[in-house]
């Protein structure tokens, strides 16, 4: 509901106010905006400018770095590390699709079928956030251990043969393979998919389902023609909230992956901290940002939904 900043309390007796202090609040919205704007300027805009500048500098730690408008860094970085870029986008896309496949039914259940269990299930969805991102990812190393139950089960069901054939796993292990990294990403970002999906599903008027039933739509048709289109805003924002951080993630690849699963986040980290090649690291960050911005723009245009929340 919208509220006005200085609306009188609704139950106040209707006596005429002597002097309506309306004008005073004219600048209130701007004052309210100020903290957020300042925050963004200091912690987003300025660092961004700094990074942009770093990406066109040359030099070394000893000599210092100077802006020389050396744009070739971008091309060099891209031609050197395009496999990691492609890999990151593929892994992120894979994780997003998995999140959608796992998250949609769950969000649907919470919104329409959970009844009094709704709050409990919501808490279970959010509960993993109560522990550290790192600890949760490390736990996966135990779950997927070579001698663990999961790998043995997958092996005896010959699922590993299939994933080996697809190149997702190698030998009879899951850890240190692309599959482990994508699973880790999926797990870590699943709540970001479920929450927006739930919000938009929950908003759908139940009477629309009844109406669809009255018009002889089968449940599947109702879903296809009514529920799913109405939940599109949730699908779009859920996929964005999953895909964007997943593409830049480096923790999952670091802990669950191997040398051939390194993502662009790992490259940026290595360039920045180990090799101390600040320009290349900054250029890579900008390329990643541009790539994601471009993909998201196209995606939002194509998705044909107006609202995003």
């Amino acid at each position: 509901m919208s509220t006005l900043t200085e609306a009188p309390p609704p139950l106040a007796p209707a006596e005429p106010a002597a002097e309506p202090p309306r004008r005073r609040g004219r600048f209130t919205p701007y004052w309210l905006l100020l903290p957020g704007i300042l925050w963004l300027v200091v912690f987003f805009a300025l660092p961004l400018v700094y990074q942009a500048s770093t990406s066109v500098q040359t030099g070394s730690l000893e000599q210092g770095y100077k802006v020389t408008w050396h744009f070739a860094t971008y091309w060099d970085a891209l031609s050197e590390y395009w496999p990691q870029f492609v890999r990151s986008l593929c892994y992120a896309a894979g994780a997003t699709v998995l999140c959608l496949l796992l998250g949609y039914p769950l969000a649907y259940l919470i919104a329409f079928r959970a009844g009094r269990w709704r709050n409990l299930i919501m808490i279970l969805v959010i509960a993993p956030f109560f522990t550290s991102f790192l600890i949760r990812t490390l736990a996966w190393k135990t779950i997927l251990a070579d001698n663990g139950v999961v790998v043995h089960t997958l092996g005896s069901l010959h699922i590993l043969d299939l994933t080996n054939w697809l190149g997702w796993t190698a030998g009879d292990r899951v850890l240190a393979t692309p599959l482990a990294v994508v699973c880790g990403l999926t797990y870590n970002f699943l709540p970001f998919m479920i929450l927006p999906l739930y919000t938009s599903l929950e908003r759908i008027d139940g009477r629309l389902h009844e109406a669809a039933g009255d018009l002889y739509a089968k449940p599947w048709t109702t879903f296809r023609k009514v529920t799913f289109p109405l939940s599109m805003p949730g699908v779009v924002s859920g996929t964005l909230l999953t895909f964007i951080p997943a593409a830049g993630d480096y923790v999952n690849s670091e802990l669950l992956g191997s040398t051939d699963t390194r993502m662009i986040g790992n490259v940026i980290q290595t360039q920045f901290l180990r090799i101390l090649d600040y320009p290349t690291a900054a250029a890579l960050s900008f390329i990643l940002m541009a790539a994601i911005l471009a993909m998201v723009t196209i995606y939002i245009r194509r998705s044909g939904t107006e609202d995003l929340v």
Partner: protein
């Protein structure tokens, strides 16, 4: 939605209120987001202020930059160290050796465990040091190569030998003259680190591992071999295996070692390059054998009898974590007294008994034996003369070499 429209609003405000009721939820729409992102891109593209930025050159003052030494008036020393790298009492709250130091000298040690990774820590303090500011730390602990870089960049202060009588007398021969700090003018070792090969007997299942070649070539270990992300340890062990001396490494030697490891990566022999997290993989048996650090092995063995280690015939790598006083530290003398204190055999023995790395203090053995007999006879904690003779150190690299070598090593590890 019930609209509440107080009649005292101006027409403009009423319109705004109505509008907010109609599409307040659509504050973030596809179009507005597209508009915003296009605007953001324009703003970034149009910035002409970029050239104003830059990163200043490292200061090249030899001997470092001192601040006024407040040691006499402020009886504290700010000591930054790695986690679990000091003795802890039974309750896990106090550090007995630090307490004893405080009691004797009246200097309170503010002990912080805020170094988790050499590269990360360098990234954290580098801007302050480059700008000539106090980092708020009087004593830090860094591994050889980073200590070498700090000295090269002029980020640390020369130590005053007058405050370090025990350190000078008791420093073990093995660590006396690294090529990056001859005569230990800037640094003293906190602990030494032996890099050897560790294995899990259960996971090996009878396979014999004696050298890096076994790790890289035995098909039975495919996908169950680990190396370290610490470039000098992984490459150093490989160089030794190839019969080259890491103390005199040339570009060709280095490339040969990289090629050797690359083959291991390509055929899937090497599972991962890891930091400290190899310990859990090894304990679980996901790694059957790996290049590992001595102190970790001692601790792993205490919990898991299957863990063993081997020192290859070709030798093993040794490095140190070094105590350094950064530029502008406020309590230099206090820091030096703390360094000297840890070179007295008794506190050194207490420390060695607790953290299981190589003690850099000569003559610590009888004191350590009093606390823990098995520790005193463990070559991973107190290497004997024969073992010391097989230890090798990586030579100091120039800035240019360091960048080039690190670049190649990163490529090997996937990024």
């Amino acid at each position: 939605m019930e609209s509440y429209e107080p009649d005292r609003l101006t027409p403009v405000e009423t319109a705004a209120l109505r509008r907010s009721h109609r599409d307040g939820r659509a504050a973030l729409t596809r179009r507005s987001l597209l508009r915003a992102s296009a605007g953001g891109a324009l703003a970034i593209g149009g910035l002409g202020t970029l050239s104003a930025c830059g990163i200043p050159a490292a200061n090249k003052t030899q001997g470092g930059v001192s601040a006024d030494d407040h040691s006499a008036t402020e009886k504290v020393v700010n000591f930054s160290n790695w986690p679990e790298y000091i003795d802890v009492d039974d309750k896990g709250k106090r550090h007995p050796t630090l307490d004893a130091f405080g009691k004797r000298t009246g200097i309170r040690v503010k002990y912080t465990e805020d170094i988790n990774d050499n590269d990360e820590f360098f990234g954290k303090i580098q801007p302050e040091l480059a700008a000539g500011q106090d980092t708020g730390r009087d004593l830090i602990v860094l591994t050889d190569w980073l200590a070498a870089r700090m000295i090269r960049l002029g980020y640390v202060q020369k130590l005053d030998p007058a405050n370090l009588p025990h350190a000078f007398a008791n420093l073990s021969d093995q660590f006396r003259a690294p090529d990056w700090d001859p005569g230990r003018a800037y640094s003293y070792p906190w602990q030494g680190i032996s890099t050897v090969i560790a294995f899990n007997k259960k996971a090996l299942d009878g396979v014999e591992v004696k050298s890096v070649s076994d790790l890289l070539d035995n098909p039975k270990l495919k996908g169950r071999v680990g190396f370290l992300t610490e470039m000098r340890d992984s490459i150093g062990m490989t160089l030794l295996d190839l019969g080259k001396d890491p103390a005199k490494v040339t570009a060709d030697d280095y490339d040969a070692a990289i090629a050797r490891l690359q083959k291991g990566v390509d055929k899937g022999q090497i599972r991962r390059f890891t930091g400290n997290d190899y310990t859990s993989d090894l304990a679980k048996g996901d790694l059957a054998a790996c290049v590992a650090w001595g102190g970790d092995i001692v601790q792993l063995q205490a919990d898991n009898p299957d863990i063993g280690y081997v020192i290859p015939d070709s030798g093993y790598m040794t490095s140190t974590d070094n105590l350094l006083i950064p530029n502008k530290a406020r309590h230099k003398t206090n820091a030096e007294r703390l360094i000297d204190y840890y070179y007295e055999p008794e506190p050194a023995a207490e420390l060695a008994a607790y953290i299981n790395y190589v003690s850099p203090v000569a003559g610590v053995a009888p004191y350590l034996a009093k606390i823990d007999k098995s520790a005193a006879s463990n070559p991973l904690i107190l290497p004997d003369k024969a073992m010391q003779a097989r230890s090798h150190a990586f030579r100091a690299l120039t800035q240019k070499e360091e960048t080039a070598y690190q670049q190649k090593f990163s490529k090997l590890t996937g990024a």
